[in-house]
């Protein structure tokens, strides 16, 4: 795909080298190909627009016109801008606060919250030697609490005992109390999946936030998400103030445009990526790699 974008741009632009100047039509034709490539990688339309605007202003500049291979030069600009827009390397979880530090996990149904909760807990306890408590606030999905309990056992991290009949907010409060009492460093609060137009459930998660004052609010999102990524990211950010994004299923063969979409509309960093069902399949985010992937390199 990258080759074909690269070839297309070369085809459009490189023949013009001898002419010594790029017309507006040349640039428009090139940007149409960039637009198509990004849309095929699931980058949200509005993010594509603001992106191509940035590329346009550089593409008409001297660096392209003077280049021997303007097509390749535009490809390089596209790539550089993608990396810049995806954010810096090495943004990671911030747990510098008075313990127990609450971490709130939010997202749509099935995005990978519970699995990611356990993955992060494992990393914090094994790598950072933190004492972690897991709590499931999912009072809705069948066996959601059992799922987290099983995963907790797998990674050797404690889970808050299940008390049937409590609300999400009640469980969250109980988790914080248990963590203070038990001398825990971090409390991971896993929540039920919710669609963003479910006002009642969005209000519930806002209340959980108010009750626990989490230091990190992580939006867990599927890397295979299409155009809806912007709606999801915006809605969760405006309701609960997301501090970071975790992209799951990066082990798939999707092109991962959701990364650019979510970062683009919220400005929030992508802090981690999920790369498998297994409990150790959690990695740092590398903008360079994701840019290559969006372009199909």
């Amino acid at each position: 795909m990258f080759e074909s974008l690269s070839e297309k741009l070369s085809g459009i632009l490189d023949s013009l080298t001898r002419r010594g100047a790029l017309s507006e039509d040349d640039v428009n034709a090139a940007l149409r190909e960039v637009r198509r490539a990004l849309l095929e990688a699931d980058v949200a339309l509005e993010v594509v627009r603001s992106f191509t605007d940035k590329v346009r202003s550089r593409a008409v500049g001297a660096e392209v016109i003077r280049s021997v291979t303007p097509g390749q030069m535009v490809v390089k600009i596209v790539h550089d801008e993608l990396v810049a827009m995806l954010g810096a390397e090495g943004e990671t979880l911030d747990l510098e606060a008075v313990p127990p530090v609450p971490v709130l996990m939010v997202g749509l149904q099935g995005s990978g919250k519970t699995t990611t909760t356990a993955k992060i807990a494992r990393r914090l306890s094994e790598r950072n030697k933190r004492k972690v408590l897991l709590a499931s606030l999912d009072t809705r999905r069948p066996a959601a609490m059992e799922q987290l309990a099983v995963l907790g056992e797998q990674v050797g991290v404690a889970t808050l005992p299940i008390v049937p009949g409590q609300s999400a907010v009640q469980i969250a409060r109980r988790a914080m109390e248990a963590a203070r009492f038990g001398g825990y460093d971090v409390v991971m609060l896993d929540t039920a999946g919710r669609v963003t137009i479910d006002e009642e459930l969005m209000e519930e998660v806002a209340q959980v936030k108010a009750a626990t004052n989490p230091h990190e609010v992580l939006l867990v999102a599927d890397a295979l998400t299409g155009q809806d990524a912007v709606n999801t990211a915006r809605a969760f950010d405006s309701k609960v103030g997301v501090t970071g994004i975790v992209l799951t299923r990066m082990d798939g063969d999707g092109r991962g445009g959701a990364a650019l979409s979510m970062r683009g509309v919220t400005g929030k960093p992508i802090k981690l990526v999920g790369t498998g069902e297994k409990i150790d399949a959690l990695e740092e985010f590398h903008p360079q790699r994701v840019a290559n992937r969006i372009l199909g390199m």
Partner: protein
């Protein structure tokens, strides 16, 4: 109504609607061409143009809007549920169990996701909710072996419908796809005609990757039909239009929530209208 010329700018607005609904660039281009054919530069109201857009989308979807027919001569009628992780397979099994029970059929569920934590418990809850028997083995057991046992038991007990749950898997994972192939092989060994339906569950929030999902799952497990879930959110699931055009696979149901009754038959017209941004008809 304000009438407006169907010019380049107006067509671009329509294009935006389709792109943002995940139809993809090629399908969007094709539909926009069809919409503008014979109408370019003519005056048309905003509502009319959406109607035309919806009709074009509907035309692609109509051939695939087909109900799932349970052939009662198969006892059990075997349904295999497949798809990527978290798409909604287990929940859809629960919803279908409810529907079949309401039709007076006996239903058995096979807890074929022997991998994911508490997947078995999740299916058992759905069994309890719907009055379906659940066949399960401990986590970590062989999924194909479990499927075989369930088939045998369903046959012995004269069950009407057996639904086999499977673990979520990404279609680019060769090892996991080979495992799915093995499940199908074992089912066929028991009954050459089974599974009588292999339903691929697609998540409406998924973008262009859903096309690959359909292609590879179809090749591996002989998909007979599709279900699209999570249409109660803000995602429109427009990739289904490209899939319909490409694969022609029947679309049986849509999922519109997490409750047992949140399953609807797929309607080409309603789906197309939602994509075009037209209100629901009653």
């Amino acid at each position: 109504f304000v009438r407006r010329k169907l010019d380049a700018a107006a067509l671009e607005d329509l294009e935006d609607i389709l792109i943002q609904a995940d139809l993809g660039v090629d399908t969007t281009d094709r539909i926009i061409k069809a919409v503008s054919a014979g109408r370019y530069d003519k005056e048309i109201s905003a509502d009319e143009v959406k109607q035309v857009l919806a009709r074009e989308v509907e035309t692609t979807l109509t051939p695939v809007a087909q109900p799932l027919i349970i052939d009662a001569s198969h006892k059990p009628f075997v349904i295999l549920m497949i798809g990527v992780n978290g798409a909604g397979k287990t929940t859809t099994i629960g919803k279908l169990a409810q529907k079949f029970r309401a039709e007076g059929r006996s239903v058995m569920l096979a807890a074929g996701d022997t991998f994911r934590a508490a997947a078995i418990e999740q299916l058992k809850v759905w069994g309890e909710r719907t009055g379906a028997t659940v066949v399960a083995r401990p986590q970590g057991s062989d999924a194909a072996g479990l499927a075989f046992d369930a088939l045998k038991e369903a046959k012995e007990r004269g069950v009407d419908v057996l639904m086999i749950d499977t673990a979520g898997r990404l279609q680019n994972k060769a090892g996991l796809m080979a495992e799915l192939e093995k499940i199908v092989r074992v089912v066929k060994k028991f009954d050459a005609g089974a599974p009588h339906a292999a339903l691929l569950v697609l998540d409406a929030t998924t973008g262009q990757n859903a096309v690959n999902q359909v292609e590879i799952f179809a090749r591996t497990a002989g998909v007979t039909g599709l279900v699209m879930t999570k249409l109660d959110g803000t995602a429109r699931g427009g990739i289904l239009v490209s899939i319909a055009a490409k694969s022609g696979l029947p679309v049986h149901f849509i999922g519109v929530g997490e409750s047992v009754d949140d399953l609807e038959p797929f309607s080409a017209r309603d789906f197309a209208r939602a994509i075009a941004g037209l209100p629901e008809e009653h």
